[in-house]
Amino acid sequence: MSDERYCLLHVGDLLLGVEVGRVQEVLGDVPVTPVPLADPSVTGLLNLRGRIVTAVDARARLGLPPREEGQGVANVVMTAGAETVSLVVDAEEDVADVDGLNCDQVPETVASTIRTFVTGCYQLDNRLLLVLDADRALTLTATT
């Protein structure tokens, strides 16, 4: 059931979907502590009720240009393995129900940097919803 409902996330011009069940909570633009020398897509660490959460920038992960100065963000907190990770997106929208829709393959013309992190897509009314492979997007190998 939960597979049928997606949390809609705006990243650049893209509309991404994450299974509703995966999303623990959505925070606004909370302060993060940058981590020098870390993977460039790590925007920093944030404190979620005493738990240290890595914030991973969706734009950087997908190879999109960085956000403009002062542009707001949303932190979509999800579990990834034993840890809690936040996916930093431009904005978070409602929940969409894709019950009865077909999951299409992502056309090969879509940039491979994006395709790597997308498992399929749904045709909503006048938009295309890309289903995000959250596990892959949130799994960063430790820098050495």
């Binding site: 502590t33 981590v35 870390a38 993977d39 009720r49 005493g50």
Partner: protein, 702 residues
């Protein structure tokens, strides 16, 4: 097996394991005092109870084994057989075997298929031919009666529960959050002194403090869980090498964090093994040297200034510094010309050098490639340290110091590139601020490497901003934190140094784990995460790879070793004072709202005690009323230890930690001031905490 049986088995396992730990200790003690009938009765009872319960549960093979043990113990009790090392060893093996079977029972629910024939034969062999099977001839001591009757054993303690450490960690996290929320509420409550929030806030404050302390306590384990097993280990080692060694263990009740306890195990094992193997001489040699044939290994633990000190000592042959030096020179660790200048203490320190200890250990020490350098580095990892003193012919003493808990440690907050970072305070020796002229005079540039001359020593400088890729600090001056970590000593250039704080170090997240310059992450008082710097990792990244040897015999080095230093404070009106760091317990920011007045005195509810507060500025100005506090402000307070208990010194700002470089100039003349010292070219008054307390008591009495 029904659930009732499962429960009985669980009780059996728990009780038997507890009894077996005692069994080991008693046996070793019994060897020293064979006439102690009480010890013997207890040892007998343990085995008897195991036998009885096994019969009840149908573990026939274990029953047969413990039966053989019981026979032997019965013969000992009756005086038919005299206890010797062979019998003790067999009985200890019996204990080990029972433990092994218990582990099997725990994982499979039934005993293993082993019939223990060899061990049974060994146990029976001690009896001699006339005692074929005489178990029934020996009456059972009273306390084990229920088990003997086939009843399930009673639980050793009805008042304890086992809790997963993860649960305690989560509780600790939540308490941290609660403290942050409480601090925010404190500010709201402070706006209106008699407002509706005042009373509930006080209750919240008290409950939070007690909860915090309770959770901290819950993580503590007696250090005996690690040290007590050395009774058995030393005994086995000594028998193995044909020596007579007595063990003395003290302070087993001292509580330390579970993580520290775990980290102590291997280093202690190594030191104890060394003591038996190399320290204690063979009995004949000892007698020839005029010492008792039996050597002594002593392990003692005690609390000492917010840390735990563990001493491992032996009365053996001691370590010959000259031999260490010879070995160091032979293996190329030490230049021959440097060897002659080495003090005895520095020579002993050589044993911790990685290039030196490992090689010989591998050949001499049952093939285990663990050297003294590993002892030091594994203690380093938990913020601990180890020092050695030795007297040839008289023995060796190792002093280990570890923090009480790994999770909470004092830290220095530093700034770099607009971000805060925390460094464990134990790694920061002192902080030096240089203005442009001083920097030009004392910092040299040697082909791109900057070196600072600190009281005649050369200190390599590491620029934190460069290492982290941050913008360089502004201004011409330099702020240098002198860092010593994993024997590497260097000056860390930072933008500025902030407050001291207590931090709870958490592990880094998966994505940030591999970065060598960070040791973890902590949440600062305002709720924002801050990275914890790894002093050793930073040094390595900056290219400092070899341990920096302390120069021998200099005043500065000696001062740093023996003297924790001075905490330099500024008063709200701009004066500078210092207190001995050894007295300082904590630094607190006390919300003005939580200060209460009792007569003329100001006090603070602090944990479950009342902490008297002293305004340093008022003391120094001979009682002049200080400027009123701003509502909602927090008073920086240094909590000091004195002979009359704790006292809180309200100060303006914590400036610096410096080593005591000179004896204070006595005769300040004023009450509460012990004298003056010169710190960073400025006269700083050293507070006399004892005198301040005495005045306070007089004040209260009048």
């Amino acid at each position: 097996m029904d659930s009732n049986d499962a429960e009985i088995i669980e009780l059996f396992l728990e009780e038997s394991r507890e009894n077996l730990d005692q069994f080991d200790r008693d046996l070793v003690a019994l060897e020293a005092a064979p006439a102690d009938t009480e010890l013997l009765a207890r040892v007998f009872r343990t085995v008897h109870t195991v036998k009885g319960t096994c019969g009840f549960l149908g573990f026939t093979k274990l029953e047969a084994l413990s039966h053989a043990g019981e026979d032997l113990l019965g013969a000992l009790r009756a005086g038919d057989v005299a206890l010797d090392a062979g019998i003790t060893s067999s009985l200890l093996t019996l204990g080990d075997r029972i433990r092994t079977v218990l582990d099997v029972v725990e994982s499979t629910g039934t005993e293993a298929d082993d019939d223990h024939a060899a061990l049974i034969a060994e146990l029976e062999g001690h009896l001699g031919p006339q005692h074929a099977s005489a178990a029934d001839a020996y009456p059972v001591p009273a306390p084990s009666a229920p088990a003997a009757g086939g009843q399930p054993p009673t639980r050793a303690s009805e008042n304890t529960v086992r809790v997963d450490v993860g649960v305690l960690d989560t509780l600790m996290d939540l308490v941290g959050e609660l403290v942050l929320a409480r601090n925010q509420i404190a500010e709201i409550a402070a706006v209106d002194d008699d407002g509706p929030l005042t009373l509930p806030y006080r209750q919240l404050r008290l409950a939070t403090s007690e909860l915090q302390e309770g959770v901290r306590q819950a993580r503590l384990q007696p250090i005996g869980t690690v040290t007590s097993r050395f009774r058995r280990i030393v005994r086995d080692l000594a028998v193995g090498v044909g020596k007579q060694v007595r063990v003395e263990i003290e302070g087993e009740e001292v509580g330390v964090d579970k993580a520290i306890n775990e980290a102590l195990g291997d280093p202690l094992l190594h030191l104890v093994r060394n003591a038996v193997d190399h320290g204690i001489e063979a009995p004949a040699d000892r007698v020839a040297a005029g010492k008792p044939a039996e050597g002594t290994v002593r392990i003692s633990a005690m609390h000492s200034g917010g840390r735990v000190e563990i001493q491992v000592s032996d009365d053996g042959r001691g370590v010959d510094p000259a031999r260490l030096v010879d070995r160091a020179v032979a293996s190329g660790v030490l230049a021959p010309e440097a060897a002659t200048a080495l003090s005895e203490r520095d020579a002993l320190e050589l044993m911790f050098h990685p290039g030196l200890s490992t090689k010989e250990e591998v050949t001499n020490l049952s093939g285990r490639g663990v050297g003294m350098d590993v002892v030091r580095s594994s203690l380093d990892q938990v913020g601990g340290s180890v020092e050695v003193t030795s007297e040839p012919g008289r023995g060796t003493l190792f002093r280990i110091s570890v923090p009480l808990t790994l999770t909470i440690m004092p830290a220095v907050v530093i700034w770099c590139g607009g971000q805060r970072y925390a460094i464990p305070q134990i790694e920061v020796e002192e902080v030096v601020s240089l203005d442009a002229a001083q920097a030009a005079a004392s910092v040299d540039d040697v082909a791109g490497a900057r070196i600072y001359r600190l009281r005649g020593q050369l200190l390599p400088l590491v620029d934190l901003a460069t290492q982290l890729g941050a913008p360089p600090p502004e201004g011409d001056g330099l702020t240098i934190a002198v860092v010593e970590s994993a024997s590497k000593r260097y000056g860390l250039i930072v933008d500025r140094v902030g407050d001291m704080t207590e931090m709870v170090v958490k592990p880094l997240t998966k994505a940030t784990r591999g970065i060598p310059v960070f040791a973890g992450v902590t949440i600062l008082g305002d709720g924002v995460p801050s990275l914890v710097l790894d002093g050793a990792g930073l040094a390595t990244r900056a290219g400092i790879t070899t341990p920096t040897a302390e120069p021998t015999g200099t005043v500065a080095a000696a001062g740093v070793e023996n003297d924790p230093g001075l905490l330099v404070l500024s008063t709200p009106d701009g004066g500078r004072v210092a207190v001995e760091l050894g007295r300082v317990q904590r630094l607190e920011h006390v919300p003005v709202a939580s200060v209460e007045r009792v007569g003329r005195r100001e006090v603070l509810q602090y944990g479950d005690t009342i902490l008297p507060l002293l305004r340093v500025e008022q003391v120094l100005s001979n009682g002049l009323e200080p400027a009123p506090d701003e509502a909602g402000a927090a008073l920086p307070t240094v909590v000091c230890q004195s002979s009359a208990g704790l006292v809180g010194l309200v100060v303006g700002h914590v400036e610096d930690i410096v080593p005591t470089v000179a004896t204070p100039i006595r005769g300040g003349g004023r009450r509460g001031v012990a004298g003056s010292v010169v710190v960073d070219d400025r006269v700083t008054e050293l507070l006399d905490v004892e005198a301040l307390i005495a005045d306070l008591a007089l004040d209260a009495g009048s």
